[in-house]
């Protein structure tokens, strides 16, 4: 019984303890690097943010159109803040990689795999950023055009445009990092194709007159507007 206890419990525990003791310097080094990176990241973020505010970077970004882009992606606290966050985040990522490296061969392997995967990840992120910008841009264009045409449900239409472009971007990004593969694209194609075909059939069969009227109305909108309001704009 004692021998069994010794072999089944105590020896593995002792081995584990030895491993922990052997590994402890690497873990503490990794934690130290990580904490230092977090502090450095915060400091870099603050310095960059405040420095850019001091030199009125936001105004320059406004003029260059950078602020509009960051706002479309969802950052509403100004371009200096976005750049500060990116700089701080970069320091943190570098710290994380150093910390993983400090863990020894296993960590190094992880870092190596990370670097192999990094281009795919960056491309996917870029696809999402571009998709986000495009979604915001086209949704706003659709919203304004629909409002000017006095269409009911203008916001719904714009929301549909935004959703469609976002979905497309997410699927392309996921395909790029090999999540879901072709299944996602096929699913999306089937659903979208189905919706378009359904609408076309419904509009074509049930709404020929409505379609004709809508097209006529769109083509003659300017004339109708002046005719109905009685005002000549120019």
């Amino acid at each position: 019984m004692n021998e069994f206890w010794q072999r089944a419990v105590l020896e593995p525990l002792q081995q584990l303890w030895e491993q922990v003791v052997n590994y402890l310097p690497q873990v503490s080094a990794a934690v130290t690097v990580l904490v230092a990176a977090a502090v450095a990241g915060w400091v870099v973020k603050q310095v960059v943010y405040r420095g850019l505010r001091l030199v009125r970077f936001d105004r320059l970004a406004d003029r260059l159109g950078f602020s509009a882009v960051t706002e479309q992606v969802g950052f509403s606290r100004g371009s200096s803040y976005v750049v500060g966050q990116c700089a701080g985040g970069l320091v943190l990522v570098v710290g994380l990689l150093l910390a993983l490296n400090a863990l020894g061969p296993a960590g190094s392997d992880l870092v190596l795999r990370f670097f192999v995967f990094l281009p795919h990840l960056l491309t996917a992120a870029l696809i999402l950023v571009v998709g986000g910008i495009a979604a915001g841009f086209f949704a706003r264009g659709a919203l304004i055009a629909a409002v000017n045409a006095q269409l009911a449900g203008a916001r719904l239409l714009a929301g549909g445009v935004r959703l469609f472009i976002w979905l497309l971007a997410v699927i392309v990004a996921m395909e790029h990092i090999e999540i879901g593969g072709a299944t996602l694209a096929i699913t999306f194609g089937v659903i979208f194709g189905g919706i378009v075909a359904g609408l076309a059939i419904a509009f074509g069969i049930a709404g020929q007159d409505l379609a004709r009227e809508a097209l006529n109305s769109l083509l003659k909108r300017g004339a109708r507007e002046e005719e109905e309001t009685g005002v000549r704009h120019l």
């Binding site: 159109g65 309001t229 704009h233």
Partner: protein
């Protein structure tokens, strides 16, 4: 051959054949077979009656009409022997995107006419639309004489118009141009004008002929250039302007993008000039401003109010991205009120236009989206104007425009501050 010289060989030969001319009248055209004969005859009679002692030429610059416009010009019985038919280069884009005045490639037409006038060594040049029904021979005298006799460089038209005719001009173009450059030109985008050789050469030398400003806003560009660069500007009273209906498919928001976009773009170009201008003086007016009977117009503001309300409701996030919070709040208050009580007052309207100009300048939003989003607010202003002036005479309505113009002038300092980001 210099960059401002005529590029088309056939046109060069035709101009050389004409020799020299003291006065050149240009008629840009595109599918105006129904009216151009009358216009050419009126121009010809005007030159014969008022400038018989001068060498005169009429130039028709056609954009490739398919309805027999050039043939109609040739059929017109002329009292002058110098008639030149040229074709201005019309690129595919001109055919697709018709400018707000309805003539594709109007900038190219003007350039061709100006180049011909320069080659003919003309002292004065005038341009009249080919779709005019109310032109008389006296118009030529009115447009040209201030140049040849009084040394003016730019002669702008002054028409009697119905109070609801030209609402973009009344609400934005005239009062903003007046407040910016300090001179009151009542019709800054009229289709007719007279030019001196000095201004004509200056315009030809400018590097804008291939840009959207020349393509879509050539009228306001010429007026603004004359005002901002200190040329001598006057107005001439031409009575009523009757012309063929413009492109029936012309979309209001496209008009606003072209006209207001040109205005804002010119604000950037002449920033150093307008920032220092305060108040305004009227440009001298020539001709006898007689009363004109104008056709009554029945106006329905309901549709405009609905458009305004929907715009304020649905475009709130768009407006919130570049308008001041207090203005967004005011728009919501107006949109949520009773339609019958809508009153978008002058000061709110002027501040809105200023905010749009500043957002255009800073590129806060895509410029086309920005200008398109002005449409519902503009309709809100027009509806308010109609409600205020429905029972008023045209003169009383003109007083309202005068009040609005003064509001633009009063708020000029705040525009400068906002423009500079203060």
């Amino acid at each position: 051959m210099g960059e401002t010289d005529i590029q088309v060989p056939a046109t060069v030969q035709a101009v050389e054949k004409l020799g020299e001319a003291d006065i050149v009248i240009g008629i840009p055209s595109y599918n105006n077979a129904g009216t151009i004969k009358h216009v050419v005859r009126a121009v010809s009679a005007g030159l014969a009656r008022h400038f018989s002692d001068q060498r005169c030429a009429i130039i028709n610059s056609d954009g490739g009409s398919t309805d027999g416009t050039p043939q109609a010009v040739l059929q017109a019985q002329l009292e002058t022997d110098k008639l030149l038919l040229v074709r201005h280069p019309l690129q595919p884009v001109h055919r697709i995107s018709t400018p707000y005045h309805g003539l594709p490639g109007k900038g190219s037409a003007f350039r061709t006419i100006f180049q011909a006038a320069k080659s003919l060594k003309a002292k004065a040049c005038a341009v009249v639309d080919a779709d005019l029904r109310s032109i008389t021979p006296d118009w030529i005298d009115l447009l040209v004489r201030p140049v040849v006799q009084n040394n003016f460089d730019y002669v702008a038209p002054y028409y009697r118009r119905h109070k609801y005719d030209g609402t973009i001009t009344n609400s934005i173009v005239y009062p903003l141009t007046r407040a910016l450059y300090g001179t009151r030109v009542r019709q800054p985008i009229g289709g007719e004008f007279g030019l001196s050789a000095k201004l004509l050469n200056r315009l030809l030398a400018k590097d804008v002929w291939e840009t959207d400003v020349a393509r879509y806003g050539v009228d306001i560009w010429m007026t603004t250039t004359a005002l901002a660069e200190g040329f001598r500007v006057c107005q001439v009273f031409l009575g009523a302007k009757l012309h063929d209906p413009k492109d029936p498919g012309a979309d209001l928001s496209a008009m606003l993008v072209q006209v207001v976009g040109s205005l804002f773009s010119l604000m950037e170009e002449h920033e150093k000039v307008w920032k220092n201008v305060r108040g305004s003086i009227p440009a001298p007016l020539y001709g006898f401003p007689y009363a004109v009977g104008l056709e009554p117009v029945r106006v329905n503001p309901e549709r405009m109010i609905t458009a305004f309300q929907q715009g304020c409701r649905d475009l709130e996030p768009v407006y919130g991205s570049f308008l001041r919070a207090d203005l967004v709040g005011e728009l919501q208050r107006l949109a949520n009120g009773q339609p019958a009580e809508l009153d978008l007052n002058d000061f709110v309207w002027v501040q809105l236009i200023h905010e749009f100009a500043v957002a255009y300048h800073r590129r806060t939003l895509d410029r086309k989206h920005l200008l398109q989003s002005l449409t519902p607010l503009y309709l809100g202003w027009v509806a308010s104007f109609v409600k205020r002036t429905q029972e008023a005479s045209d003169d009383a309505a003109e007083q309202q425009i005068e009040r609005l113009s003064r509001a633009y002038e009063q708020l000029k300092q705040s525009l400068v501050e906002r423009w500079e980001g203060r």
